[in-house]
């Protein structure tokens, strides 16, 4: 075997294939006459497009200060200035979690110096090229060419000095990203951005509060980024880097399952806590908490413990199921009687726990009772903080706007539509005809009609169909419409996964004596979800892009502020008609998010080996 594998010894090593820019160009640009023609045409397109783009971007008439001046508006709309620390705290927590997860899961491998060198040289080439064709003054052109040249030389030198190792992956990607972050932070301290100003009595006024009260010629001046932005970012970046290094060093040895589990839990908790408690700043009515929420929590904790202890006893069997069913009916019957919502939620949750306990409880009831107490606590706590008013003083109905609202919309819709989508997919592949009919009808009906129609339904018709006195805010309606919409698409993705599982898996689990529920939860669903992870990431991207549709129904999301609010602004500075600048900025931001997601999807696809069989 091994003999056959070894290559016969050669007297001379084979001549390495010829290399060099001329040969590369012959092979890749002018291999045939037709290819040569295409190269020339494409080159003309590239030069014209690049020149058009540079002329557009660096045209003095462009109002890029519409973006820089309104950055806070674009990000968080009218969030009060003295409460901005809440926003920075949120960003900081997310960066902390991100850095810790990157370190604990050891994400980010090694890059080949050759690739890094190619990227450096391409970047340098692009800088030099735009220096040559861009509409700049001669010194700027010269300096751009020089900067581009430095990058090209740097790339070349990297390739040269790594020598034989150029094709070995030896450069840690996370290290490169760390250096980039440090450079970025350094840059935001020195860079100057265009800000609008008014000339009053020969004096340049950039302060909106003063400029708003007087008439005067409006100009653009270059100013450093305000310290209220730069210092938080610096602190957050330093925190992120330190966290990464700290966790990396601390987890050098061994697998850290507990740490991973803790981080996953923190991620899951982070979103509702940050959104509802930190950003929303609810009014905490402790009196009501003691009167309603604490008794409710204690009552259900004790009741749940008793019920769950009973139903997960071995040998109780079918009685437990009947009890669970009665609990569920009772829980839904609470809708008919007036009572605090927290009791209804807790009753439904307890019924679900009781129904699931015989299937998942295992030998002891300890785990499931612990899980119930935690669930009980979380539900009570979130109902408590959601049911009160927000203390954030904003003019609109919702406390967030701009990019933060877009992210909240996308994230909530994804998180909520996921369980619904899985249930719909299970229903559509179920053997029970009425369930299958209902789920299929739902999925096809929702998918056959565009999202904008569903948004219009939520905004025009829902108010009519709701009982009088019940009102649902605009953001909640949009979240609802997007959740129900994307659940149908997610269901189709998950169905693909469910259908890809070989029948033998089901037969084997039946042979082991598993119930249908156990088979679904422990055997088929995990495999199905793993198989469709790339498709699910694709759905996440689609939802993120689809959030922009809420601008049509008048929510103040990122696109709405970029397209409607800023180009209509005339005080304290006029940005009338600056729609192209703001739209391009919005496009770039959306692009950065979706491009990152699509790269993650590609990596996952490769890592999971889906599609390579």
């Amino acid at each position: 075997m091994t003999d056959a594998m070894t290559a016969p010894e050669l007297e001379f090593a084979p001549e390495p294939p010829p290399k060099g820019p001329r040969i590369w160009m012959r092979d890749n640009l002018f291999s045939t006459p037709a290819s040569g023609v295409m190269t020339v045409v494409a080159l003309v397109i590239v030069v014209l497009a690049a020149k058009g783009l540079l002329d557009f971007v660096f045209n003095p008439a462009r109002r890029w200060d519409a973006d820089t001046y309104n950055m806070k508006l674009l990000m968080v709309q009218a969030y009060p200035q003295d409460a901005m620390w809440r926003v920075w705290l949120t960003v900081g927590v997310i960066v902390f979690l991100l850095a810790a997860s990157l370190a604990v899961w050891r994400i980010g491998g090694m890059a080949e110096p050759r690739k890094v060198a190619t990227i450096l040289m391409a970047f340098g080439g692009a800088v030099a090229f735009s220096g040559v064709i861009g509409p700049f003054s001669t010194p700027v052109q010269a300096s751009l060419v020089v900067v581009g040249g430095i990058f090209i030389v740097g790339g070349w030198a990297l390739k040269r000095f790594t020598g034989d190792n150029a094709k070995e992956p030896i450069i840690p990607i996370m290290g490169v990203i760390g250096i980039l972050i440090v450079v970025l932070i350094a840059v935001i301290w020195v860079i100057k951005v265009p800000v609008p100003a008014k000339i009053i009595d020969g004096e340049v006024i950039t302060d909106g509060a003063i400029a708003g009260q007087v008439q005067g010629e409006q100009i653009k001046v270059l100013r450093p980024i305000a310290t209220s932005t730069t210092s938080p970012w610096t602190i957050i970046a330093a925190l992120g880097l330190l966290t990464y290094i700290g966790f990396r060093v601390a987890t050098r040895k061994g697998a850290h399952h507990r740490l991973k589990r803790a981080l996953t839990g923190l991620w899951l908790l982070a979103f509702p806590v940050l959104l509802l408690l930190v950003l929303r700043d609810p009014y905490l009515d402790w009196e009501k908490a003691v009167q309603v929420y604490l008794p409710a929590f204690l009552f259900f904790a004790v009741l749940g413990a008793v019920v769950l202890w009973f139903v997960s006893k071995p040998g109780v069997g079918e009685v437990a199921r009947v009890l669970g069913a009665f609990l569920l009916i009772g829980a839904f019957a609470t809708i008919l009687f007036p009572m605090p919502w927290v009791i209804r939620f807790l009753a439904i949750a307890l019924a679900v726990f009781a129904l699931a306990a015989p299937s998942f409880g295992g030998e002891g009831a300890k785990g499931i009772i612990g899980g119930w107490i935690i669930t009980d606590l979380l539900i009570t706590f979130f109902v408590f903080i959601v049911a009160t008013e927000s203390l954030v003083d904003v003019p609109g109905a919702f406390f967030l706007g701009g990019l933060s609202l877009t992210i909240v919309l996308a994230f909530t819709a994804i998180v909520l539509s996921f369980p619904l989508g899985v249930v719909l997919a299970l229903g559509r592949t179920s053997t029970m005809p009425i369930f299958r009919l209902l789920c299929t009808a739902y999925i096809e009906l929702v998918r056959g009609v565009p999202l904008i129609t569903w948004l219009l339904v939520a905004f025009l018709m829902l108010p009519i169909a709701l009982p009088s006195g019940v009102e649902i805010g605009g953001v909640m309606r949009a979240v609802g419409a997007m959740t129900f919409f994307s659940a149908a698409y997610l269901a189709e993705n998950v169905r693909g996964g469910l259908q890809s599982i070989p029948g033998g898996q089901r037969e084997a689990s039946k042979a082991l004596g598993m119930s249908t529920l156990q088979m679904t939860v422990f055997i088929t669903l995990p495999q199905a979800l793993r198989a469709v992870i790339p498709a699910l990431v694709g759905q996440v991207i689609a939802i993120f892009k689809d959030t922009s549709l809420v601008t049509i129904v008048g929510l103040f999301d990122f696109l709405h502020i970029a397209r409607q609010v800023i180009p209509a602004q005339s005080q304290p500075f006029s940005f009338l008609g600056s729609i192209k600048e703001t739209l391009i900025f919005a496009a770039v931001v959306y692009w950065m998010f979706t491009f990152t997601f699509s790269r993650i999807s590609l990596r996952l696809e490769k890592k999971l080996g889906v599609g390579e069989r």
Binding site: P433, I464, A465, S548, L559
Partner: protein, 526 residues
Amino acid sequence: MTVQVRETQKTPLWRNATVLKWTAQLVVLVAVIALFVTLGSRAASNFEQSDVSFGWEWLSNPTGVQIFEGIDTSPDSGARALMVGIVNTLRVAISGILVATLLGTLIGIAKLSKNWIVNKLATVYIETIRNIPLLVQIFFWSALAVSLPSLVAADVGVYWFKVSNKGFAFAWIFTDGGFWPWMVFVAAGFLVGRYVSKRRKRYQEETGNLGHGGRYMAAVIVVFAVVGWFAWPILGFMQPVFDAIAKAVDNLPPIVVPIVFAALAIVLSALWIRNFFESRRTPAGFGKMTDDDWFRIIFIGLSGLVLAFLAFRISAYEIETVAGDIKSVAELLILTIGNFFRWLAHSFSTDNANTVIEGIRSGGPLVFERPEVLLQGAAKIPQYGPTGMVVTIPFFAIWTGVTLYTAAFIAEIVRGGILAVPKGQTEASMALGFKRGRYLREVILPQAFRIILPPLGNQYLNLFKNTSLGLAVAYADIVAVGTTIINQTGQSLPVVIVWMAFFLTGSLLISAVVNRYNRKLQLVER
């Protein structure tokens, strides 16, 4: 030897799987129906309080809707307004699908090109367009077009192509009076051509000589088209025939309509059930039916009966027409069918040869027109005249947006499809001495098409649904017209029902066409 048979224990009701499953399903079904009934009754009572009762009168009443562009800018009824919106949606969807397919295929192939710079250009296009929300792109195209130079008095004249912030105007071919009779000739040419091409194919199979079936077919169609161009007035005898049919239809009693529809529904469901029984038949008699099978049979049978009942109910529903008289739906349907035949009679009338519209369009099947900039109104505002094709800014924004966006997705699908064709096919064609263009066209693309088609159909569906974003740039598609009607009449529920019916029908049609081709293209396997 005796076998001791244990007395079979009867399964208790709460452990019987069938009972449990059906109970759960029925409970959920009842809950879902109860939810809809509650919401519906609540909506009905809320409607009553707000003086707007649910109804369809707006379809035939004037709604006062003004439409910016389309086949009719001030429609006299709600139905007509919706019709204009539907035509506008279809205009974007159909032309968008055609162009997006072409562009997407080109870019997909470019992304596989060995030419480095062409390859990179395609990559940049795909990655940019695909990752930016469509709505942002539509807004951007709109903003770009609005900032174009406006028409001034000096622009008056006739053009081949003219760009301004009032839209894009260019020379175009339009249908004219003799179009439909001429199309009859073309269709006949197509049928004859297909017959000839089949004959040539048989000839090729028998003799081994090249048959050139495609060329023969094209030649036959051209000959028929040329002859028809001059000879179409001889079809004028069809006019009295269609007129007679129209009269016959008008005299039908209204009760025929529900009877036909009800009979159709019942016969179709009965046929389905019979075929189903037949398909389960085994040599030993009827096969065993599962719960599921019985459910299907009951469901189809019930649906047939419900549809038959609905046919009678809907036919008898009376609405007020624009003219002011009250007619039942059945009468209106008969009237519509009669009108269709009257329209056919008009289309085949030889009088059309002499019809001259505003001194520009004259008789003949087609007419070529160039756009013109005129000074219009008392204020002498320069505007595009009625001739030539004028693409408005909203149309441009939505069309460019959906077409470029879908093209990026189609490019990825085409690329994947081509890559999925086994490499041996490429190598074999190269070994046979095929050039790149030829093997791509004749070997790879036909095979790749089989893989591409299902996801391509999905993209067509997406494009069709994305045209609804025209609402954001005030393009008068069905959603925009519908929202205007809601604002004018308050009839939100009926309009939403119309939207759903339209989009579901469109989606079903597209997937039906795609599935048909898909079945045709699939390899026949044993």
